[in-house]
């Protein structure tokens, strides 16, 4: 792997990690909201 390839590799991996982190954070927020709604309605 050349240095350019390695830089590209790291960039792609970093982008994927950030995207995955954002998706996970969004799911945490969503499930928190769902829990509040479900508990609040007695369901």
């Amino acid at each position: 792997m050349t240095p350019e390839e390695e830089a590209q590799f790291k960039k792609a991996r970093r982008g994927r990690n950030i995207a995955l982190a954002l998706v996970l954070a969004a799911f945490v927020a969503l499930f928190y909201a769902i829990t509040i709604v479900k508990v609040g309605s007695g369901g």
């Binding site: 792997m1 390839e5 590799f9 792609a12 994927r16 950030i18 969503l30 709604v37 479900k38």
Partner: protein, 306 residues
């Protein structure tokens, strides 16, 4: 699997995974799913409603990813689809398959646990229908593949409706049938004026297999069926006059625009104006019809009858 895929060293970017979910198709899925949800009698909490629409969208994305995984070799042969991540070798085929399975399963489980299990079950059925029955089994085998594929696109309003009510009645089934009947004339109008390379890829599209004349006749047949089916929700008392009038006008226009398409044939240097007009209108038609359905429900508050 291609050689480029095997020797690939770069990991796929997140954009490649996003592209697997066919985001543009997803926007229509979200719209019709949301309309089914809003038109259904009853009420669910906005957070639950949001979750239901999200699950419909993610499930559709999972089915799309599985479709692209299976059709990578076909996509590579067609100009429109050759730029997709798999034909380009930007992603390992197994990664696409696993991604598709993972988000499909997740969407069904979340739908079942958070919304209701009937909605989750129908979502699972719609994903299997598109990924297995349509993509793997029937699309490469029959020129009626568009009719069958339309079934996959017809699920979202049904799922949205069941997310609210928890049971199936005639009304959501009619919404399903409307999109089912709408898809063939919509797609075949496009197929008449767009030079596609399905033939090269070995997919038996109707204009190629049965000829233009048969395609034009079938466009009219489906348009007339669509006219009757789109009025059915009003006849059975499931909607009020707002939807009824909108369906009458919109579906009437659809048939009127389909008539010249059905009774003409291609000339030298043909601009294909009637076909382009019908296709353009068909997109507007679906949005307007479902918007009218929701408006009817919100303004007149009907839809309880069935």
């Amino acid at each position: 699997m291609t050689a480029t895929a095997q020797t690939q060293t770069l990991p796929a970017e997140w954009r490649d995974f996003f592209a697997l979910t066919k985001p543009r198709v997803m926007s229509l899925v979200v719209f019709t799913g949301l309309c089914g949800l809003l038109a259904a009698p009853g009420h669910i909490h906005p957070v639950i409603a949001f979750t239901a629409v999200l699950c419909i969208a993610v499930g559709a994305g999972g089915a799309a990813a599985l479709n692209m995984w299976w059709e990578a070799d076909i996509d590579a042969k067609m100009k429109r689809t050759a730029q997709r991540p798999l034909p380009q070798g930007r992603m390992r085929p197994n990664d696409a398959r696993d991604f598709g399975v993972a988000i499909s399963v997740a969407s069904v489980l979340v739908m079942g646990l958070v919304v209701n299990w009937l909605a989750g079950l129908i979502l699972a059925a719609s994903i299997l229908y598109y990924a297995v029955i349509y993509t793997i089994w029937l699309k490469p085998r029959t020129p009626q593949n568009i009719v069958i594929g339309g079934g996959a696109g017809a699920f979202p309003p049904l799922i949205g409706w069941v997310a609210v009510t928890g049971h199936i009645t005639l009304m959501p089934v009619l919404l399903f049938v409307i999109i089912f009947m709408w898809t063939p004339p919509h797609f075949w109008a496009l197929a008449l004026f767009v030079k596609s390379d399905y033939a090269k890829a070995g997919i038996p599209m109707l204009p190629v297999v049965a000829g233009e004349g048969a395609t034009r006749r079938q466009i009219l047949i489906y348009s007339v069926i669509l006219f009757a089916v789109s009025l059915a929700p009003w006849w059975i008392g499931g909607t009020g006059a707002i939807y009824g009038m909108a369906a009458l006008v919109l579906s009437g226009l659809f048939v009127i625009l389909a008539l010249p398409v059905a009774f003409r044939s291609r000339q030298e240097e043909d601009k294909m104006k009637p076909e382009k007009r019908l296709f353009g209108f068909s997109v507007l038609y679906l949005f307007a019809l479902f918007a009218a359905l929701v408006a009817d429900r919100l303004i007149l508050g009907q839809g309880i009858a069935s």
